[in-house]
């Protein structure tokens, strides 16, 4: 008998084992849901799959009577817009500042304590300040994401810049590169795939801030919706929404990963 650490499942077993926990959760959910519904057909806590699909198709495919819009589409678009703006601006900031503090010692001295300080501030504690300063509109939600994500991303980029072998930086100086040329032709192209990775890493955090901000003050958005219907214990909406948000997060991550592989074939290889 081989040691446990040397026993590797075959491809089909691997797939089956991966799906097994999901399957078990589904079975447990459906059976408990059925049991509760048999006792009380109006039970809201564990709605049947049919009920979920039914509620969701109303939100997804029928125009809302109140606003005349497709609710799910509208929620998704406004949330994604906030997320994209927050993460996009953070990424741009992280790229510019992370590279600068990574390669120019005077900028390191000036900015790195500040970035370090900001990355330790519990961002949610700043939300009231943002609402006071920027009002309850779009700006404060986007700024919350930026404050939460940009310092982490910047530190990550700074670390990645530091990881570029010093031999390489010295070598290009002997090829006549100026500071500007080192930044634009050597550092930035090598950091871009790492920036994409940093975005993938911080997207989870960005979603947290997005949904929190939407829960407190918004008129549409995925986070707004689930907190709104919570009042009616509408688990038939909340559960599919959570799955939908997870699916979106997965899709974004997947697209960014493919993007990295296609655009930077040399990345991660030495």
């Amino acid at each position: 008998m081989k040691r446990l650490i040397n026993q590797v499942p075959s491809k089909t077993t691997n797939l089956f084992l991966g799906l097994l926990p999901f399957l078990l959760i589904a079975i447990v959910y459906i059976s408990s849901s059925n049991a509760r519904l048999a006792e009380n057909p109006n039970d809201k806590l564990l709605p049947s799959i049919e009920k979920c699909i039914d509620s969701m198709s109303t939100l997804a495919f029928e125009k809302s009577k109140r606003s005349g819009e497709y609710v799910l589409l509208n929620d998704t678009l406004s949330s994604l817009k906030r997320l994209a703006m927050g993460v996009g601006i953070s990424a741009l900031f992280a790229l510019l500042v992370g590279i600068a503090i990574g390669i120019i010692p005077y900028v390191t001295s000036t900015l790195s304590p500040l970035i370090w300080f900001f990355s330790l501030v519990p961002t949610m504690a700043l939300l009231p300040i943002l609402f006071i300063v920027f009002g309850l509109g779009e700006v404060s939600k986007v700024v919350l994401i930026i404050l939460g994500v940009a310092p982490i991303m910047t530190r990550e980029i700074y670390q990645r810049v530091k990881e570029i072998p010093s031999e390489q930086i010295i070598k290009v100086q002997t090829l006549g590169a100026s500071t500007w040329q080192i930044i634009t032709r050597v550092i930035t192209p090598q950091i871009l795939p790492r920036l994409i990775d940093a975005i993938r890493l911080t997207l989870g955090t960005a979603w947290i801030f997005l949904i929190s901000a939407e829960a407190i003050a918004a008129t549409e958005g995925l986070g707004y919706r689930i907190f709104l219907v919570r009042r009616y214990l509408a688990m038939d909406v909340i559960l599919p929404y959570v799955i939908w948000i997870t699916l979106l997060a997965f899709l974004i991550d997947f697209i960014l990963r493919i993007f990295n592989q296609r655009l930077f074939p040399w990345f991660g290889k030495e």
Binding site: P165, E167, Q168, I170, K171, V172, Q173, T174, L175, G176, A177, S178, W180, Q181, T184, R185, V186, P189, Q190, F264, P265, W266, F267, K269, E270
Partner: protein, 247 residues
Amino acid sequence: MNLVEAKNIWKIYGDSIILENLNFTMEDGEFCTLVGPSGCGKTTFLRMLLGIEQPTKGKLYFEGKDYPKEPSDERGIVFQRYSTLSHLNVIDNVIIGLEFETSKFFGKLFGNEKKKAHEKAEEILKAVGLQDAREKYPHELSGGMKQRLSIAQSLVKKPKLLLLDEPFGALDPGISLDMHELLLDIHSKLNFGVVMVTHDISEAFKLGTRVLVFDKVKVDEKYPNRYGSTIVNDIDSSSKRGTRTSL
């Protein structure tokens, strides 16, 4: 005029003395190999010649003038590893040196200028034997090919002094022999100075016109860093050059 001149150089870190009282001169076209036990300061000396370290005491001159305090394109370097740019293919790795020079803002050449740079780079790639790998990325090259590329990158800048920091230390013996041929060939055609750190003594005698031995003159058993190293032997090996000596 001497290409490099060092007068009474000392290098001290805290209370460790690395180099002491080192004197050295070299001229254009000389191929100096530095040998000695590990930790004897030969790499420190090479880093001074590169311009990334400065002597604590003493005077260092490049072409009769004060030594530059940072790397420049007059002095090329080939490290043991990591000297190539992983995000560029072979030909772009070579022309980037020309691009830095001509295109100050974009660092990139276009159109006719790019074509000219390409022709120049092709010639050098042929000289180092990489003409068939022009579209490959460094991660697709073997260790020896990476070092050829690194040499090509420096050659395109026509340096006055080429510095080699154990360039073949990580290569298989057979590949090293090919690299020796390449280096001797290039050095005989282009008359630049070379300083090479190596721990392989037969390599030092085979390639160098001069072999410089670094070691400590005095040793303190209790405080090994009390005395620094210096050049204890300066051997003219130009007559034996190209032949493999067995030691």
